[in-house]
């Protein structure tokens, strides 16, 4: 504003320029219809029933928000046939705020008034927008077809090597593991990810995390396959078939703040605002649906942190369903890719805590027998509810999609449950932590549901101690599992980065079913008897059970401890030589120590295993060690700030059981050829090393000869005798200079006193 000039004042009030003040205090009136919704698919009624209908509608919409006074307007028309004033099946509803209006849409769109009337609730502005849409068809621009790289090229490796990714400081390296434990680098890139790395479950994509979202990489060239914009993304999870991706960000989505250069790239719309979870289609990169965090029943108690309850959505193994619990209230099962609720509603289960899908569709032994073309697509889902309102805790098995309850089992004095499905889907083990009657000590029960029996019998194993870890053997002739138990699970203290500060004394037990006699087998139609403890190892510092993905081998690890770093490699089926009946026993193969070990990763084939010390937990000797499945050390690699190691998963094999057997039979035939190849590559490698070393020695000697010559020349030039001669020249007269020092040392070995008479 120019300074006031007293010589040039405005002549009259009308001449004063108010425009700047007007601009500053300009009021915008709320002219938008954002708080108005249109409710469609209402029943068509005549005037006499209008009031009743309106009161019903009011009642339905009451939880969403406050409807303005006179905020309901239902257009009517006079029916030419009957002459009555009839409603037209829709009404306008004005809420106090636009937020309430959108809440009403979220909650009540699709509400079932009765069988024929499913409400359609929309924003008034949307109706207007779509009504004024341009009707002429505009051809969408189809981008030219781009051939995608072969995403599974790593499986074609002639040596069948497995790949892994290592995060060393800021540098990400994709490497291929070799038989000799010296991996080859496939690809490296600095600052590839801003936090950590993740493989998709079948190994196709490598996920990197960035402030703006996640990016998937893959193919032989490691190029960007797809990116998913989700600001401040922290966690992500793939569906088992890699069709869908779930991302989570602690920041609520604000579609205006995404800030893409090209607005069409913004995946979010106003309907996504305030949500934290997104489900994406990986192939197209489209956002399928965003979800808010579940509302807790009691708003004061925060739910379990998302990190502990990740993955938030659990997928059925065929990508068809995904589900989550709203803790304490309900189980919501959604269908993919439609993203709608199964049967359009959640299953209300008071107190529900956790659930788990059966790992394979159908019920083993009942549905979908071998060769059945109609593969089963139904799942068994198990969930549990804690003790509440004088009701005992309960484990329930239901069928999805029918929601039929298959079995319930009541549990008493329960403090916590964990659900563990056997990978075959034949068994479900529920680990139940119980308080003793005096409520002073805890112990655990294992409740094992047998799914292959129609009656779903439950076998209970009562333990005296508390189970801290449970693991099924992933593969094997018969179901086996290992448990770690301890007397007092709360005795262990952890530091800030999750490392145990003192060692623990745990018990490790191995269970397997008792063999049944032929007679009994025929009588009961069972293949195995009850589970029995086969072996117990006491006073072990073990904190982790790490089965090989192929079974048979297990590592008992003492991970994330500041005092012990033991790794015990056990063979559960060590063949006993002297007996030819295939008898085996459990045997400790080796128990090496990896100083500072924090994590152990088996490769997907079970041939190799890597233990690593991550800089995320401590900074002592960060790096990794490659072992074979028998605990032989193949290679040790230390890196400054080594953070993460992940084997690249493999997709499930396409071979049938018969194929596998045929190949296994051919191994003795083919083995010599492979051994020869190994020898060849080994000798080639060692000769390369020898060549390299020879060259290094030659270079060194050449340089020394040159430097010594120069030195002597300079000495001569300056007329000085060299102070030191080269070692070779000096070697001859060395013996003349040697001075021998002889030293006498007297030592009293024993002193005895004798009295001489």
């Amino acid at each position: 504003m120019p300074a006031l000039d007293p010589r040039n004042l405005p002549a009259s009030e009308a001449d004063i320029d108010f425009s700047d003040i007007e601009e500053k205090y300009h009021l915008t009136f709320n002219e938008s219809f954002d708080n108005v919704v249109v409710v469609d698919n209402l029943p068509v009624v005549d005037e006499s029933k209008l009031d009743r209908l309106l009161s019903v509608v009011k009642k339905i919409f009451k939880p969403a928000g406050t409807i303005k006074e006179d905020g309901l307007f239902m257009p009517t028309s006079i029916d030419p046939n009957s002459g009555k004033t009839m409603t037209q099946g829709y009404l306008f509803m004005e809420f106090n705020t636009p937020e309430q209006a959108s809440a009403a849409i979220k909650q009540l769109d699709g509400f079932k008034l009765d069988k024929t009337h499913i409400l359609a609730v929309h924003k008034y502005t949307d109706v207007e927008r779509y009504a004024t849409m341009n009707d002429t068809y505009k051809e969408p621009v189809i981008p030219p077809y781009e051939e995608r790289e072969h995403l599974k090229s790593w499986l074609l490796d002639p040596k069948c090597r497995d790949q892994f990714v290592a995060l060393r400081g800021d540098e990400v390296a994709v490497m291929a593991n070799n038989k000799n434990g010296k991996p080859d680098t496939v690809f490296t890139r600095s600052k590839w990810t801003e936090s950590y790395l993740q493989w998709s479950p079948r190994g196709t994509y490598l996920t990197t995390y960035h402030r703006q979202g996640v990016v998937l990489w893959g193919g032989a060239s490691w190029s960007k396959i797809m990116r998913f914009i989700h600001p401040n993304v922290k966690l992500s999870d793939f569906s088992p078939h890699e069709k869908f991706l779930v991302t989570f960000s602690p920041d609520a989505i604000n579609h205006e703040a995404v800030g893409m250069a090209n607005p069409s790239e913004n995946p979010f719309g106003p309907e996504d605002d305030g949500n934290h979870l997104c489900v994406w289609d990986i192939r197209t990169g489209n956002l399928l649906r965003s979800f808010p965090m579940p509302q807790m029943a009691n708003k004061d108690t925060a739910g379990p942190s998302i990190k502990d309850a990740w993955p938030h959505f659990k997928w059925s193994s065929d990508d068809r369903y995904f589900a989550r619990v709203v803790p304490g209230q309900m189980l919501s099962i959604y269908e993919a890719p439609s993203m709608g609720l199964l049967d359009r509603k959640s299953i209300k289960v008071e107190g529900i805590s956790d659930f788990a899908w059966s790992p394979v569709p159908g019920r083993p032994g009942r549905l979908g027998t071998k060769g059945d073309a109609n593969k089963p697509t139904d799942y068994t889902l198990a969930y549990w509810t804690p003790e509440m309102n004088n009701q005992p805790a309960r484990v329930t098995l239901i069928n999805v999609p029918t929601k039929e309850v298959l079995r319930t089992k009541n549990l008493f004095n329960t403090t916590d449950c964990k659900l563990y499905w056997h990978p075959s889907g034949e068994y479900l083990c529920v680990k139940v932590d119980r308080l003793s009657k005096t409520k002073k000590s805890t112990s655990s029960n294992l409740e094992i549901f047998l799914l292959s029996d129609r009656a779903l019998p439950v076998e209970t194993i009562e333990l005296k101690e508390t189970v801290v870890s449970f693991a099924w053997e992933p593969k094997g002739k018969q179901p086996r599992f290992a448990v770690i138990t301890t007397v007092d699970p709360s005795a262990v203290q952890f530091n800030a980065s999750g490392m145990a500060v003192q060692s623990v004394r745990n018990t490790v037990s191995f269970y397997e079913p008792e063999p049944l006699s032929k007679l009994k087998r025929a009588a009961t139609n069972m293949t195995h008897g009850n589970f029995k403890c086969k072996n117990t190892l006491e006073k072990k510092p073990t904190t982790a059970l790490l089965w090989s993905p192929n079974g048979r081998y297990i590592i008992l690890g003492s991970l994330r401890s500041t005092t012990v770093w033991d790794m015990e490699f056990w063979d559960m089926d060590y063949p006993l030589d002297n007996k030819k009946n295939g008898a085996t026993e459990m045997r400790l193969l080796t128990s090496p120590e990896h100083y500072g070990v924090t994590d152990v990763e088996w490769d997907p084939t079970g041939r190799y295993v890597v233990s690593y010390a991550s800089a995320w937990r401590h900074s002592m000797e960060n790096g990794f060690i490659v072992w074979d499945c028998k605990g032989t050390l193949l290679g040790k690699f230390t890196y400054e700030k080594f953070k993460q190691f992940l084997w690249r998963p493999r997709p499930p094999t396409l071979l049938t059981e018969e194929d596998k057997k045929r190949i296994a039979k051919k191994i003795p035939e083919l083995a010599p050829k492979f051994e020869e190849e190994d020898l060849m590559s080994e000798s080639a490698a060692s000769s390369a090393v020898i060549m390299k070393r020879r060259r290094a020695v030659e270079e060194w000697n050449a340089w020394r000869a040159k430097a010594e010559k120069e030195y002597l020349e300079e000495c001569q030039m300056m007329g000085k005798t060299p102070m030191y001669r080269s070692t070779s020249a000096n070697a001859g007269d060395e013996s003349a200079n040697v001075e021998t020092i002889e030293e006498w040392v007297e030592e009293v070995i024993e002193e005895t006193e004798e009295v001489v008479e």
Partner: protein
């Protein structure tokens, strides 16, 4: 290999040095005494008393007649090796961090600390072994820019002096003119030690950046490098018998109390000089290793640690038969 433990210091060792024949071992520490030992059995021959502060550096001339020491009491002192007499005291403005005789014993260099407004310098003095009074006037004063010198040494025939800097640079100075002839920037952190080969045509540097490097004395070409996983305080080239280098270090002294001996990495590490591969380690110290010296005959070596001990190691027969495959 059972080391001989020399327990003559009450504080952390700073430097140890063999004389030319290797029969004597001189050691200095942060307590104010210089010790001299028989290297073959660890018997103490005597001490040189007089310094008022931590002693940072020591050197003996080639005929083992004169000893020079540099100390935090802002003096460098010249001693008679045989009877322990103090012959001369040079006074500086700041602590003397490094002293060394030239190859022909005619000169000494001193590296002084940068402190209290005084720049870090390299002073060159002439030493006359025949008379008692030495010149207090330096032949030259070099002020290394921009990073102060931490270590320095004489090249062969007094051609140059080689200087290691605080920022990791290694440079070649003409000591007459004070001119920088060459400078390389391989190391990323402070140079902690610099030791020559027997004929001084190449030398090894150790650095807090966890690597040791071998350089050509004339070209400053980095010939070899030995990366480790711990900050290094000392490095030495094995003078005879084996083509090795030995490096030592460990976690910073101030962090040691919070870490166990094992993760401190207080070991002497042997590397193959040509192939740059680690061939062995010698444990024993329970603090960082501050200084390592090798007997000129290559049959024994000593290490001095923050723990106040000098460990003298004589090799077992299998050291001589060891073959690098």
């Amino acid at each position: 290999m059972r080391p001989i433990l020399l327990q003559g210091h009450e504080r952390a060792l700073t430097q140890i040095k063999y004389n030319r024949e290797g029969d004597l071992l001189f050691s200095v520490a942060k307590d104010n005494v210089i010790n001299v030992w028989f290297s073959h059995n660890g018997e103490r021959l005597g001490t040189y008393n007089g310094h008022q502060g931590s002693i940072w550096s020591v050197d003996v001339n080639s005929d083992s007649s004169l000893l020079i020491s540099g100390s935090a009491d802002n003096t460098a002192r010249l001693w008679n090796v045989a009877d322990g007499r103090l012959l001369h005291t040079w006074t500086s403005n700041t602590a003397v961090k490094r002293v060394q005789f030239s190859e022909d014993d005619k000169y000494v260099l001193m590296v002084t600390e940068q402190r209290m407004g005084f720049p870090g310098t390299i002073l060159i003095f002439a030493v006359d072994p025949t008379t008692a009074d030495q010149s207090d006037e330096p032949l030259n004063v070099i002020i290394p820019e921009p990073s102060k010198a931490t270590v320095a040494g004489w090249g062969y025939l007094n051609k140059y002096i080689v200087v290691g800097h605080e920022n990791g640079n290694v440079s070649l100075f003409d000591w007459n003119t004070g001119e920088v002839l060459k400078c390389v920037e391989d190391h990323e952190a402070i140079i902690s030690d610099l030791q020559f080969s027997t004929d001084r045509t190449y030398f090894i540097t150790s650095s807090k950046d966890k690597t040791a490097r071998i350089y050509d004395s004339n070209t400053l070409e980095c010939i070899k490098s030995y990366p480790t996983d711990t900050p290094l305080n000392s490095a030495v080239i094995v003078p005879a018998i084996k083509e090795f280098v030995v490096v030592g270090g460990g976690q910073e002294a101030m962090q040691v109390t919070t870490t166990s001996q094992r993760q401190g990495k207080f070991e002497c590490r042997f590397f193959h000089k040509i192939h740059e591969d680690e061939v062995g380690r010698v444990r024993g110290h329970f603090g960082p290793i501050n200084t390592i010296a090798f007997h000129p005959d290559g049959k024994s070596f000593s290490s001095g640690g923050e723990d106040g001990y000098v460990r003298v190691h004589h090799f077992d027969p299998d050291y001589y038969t060891f073959k690098y495959e």
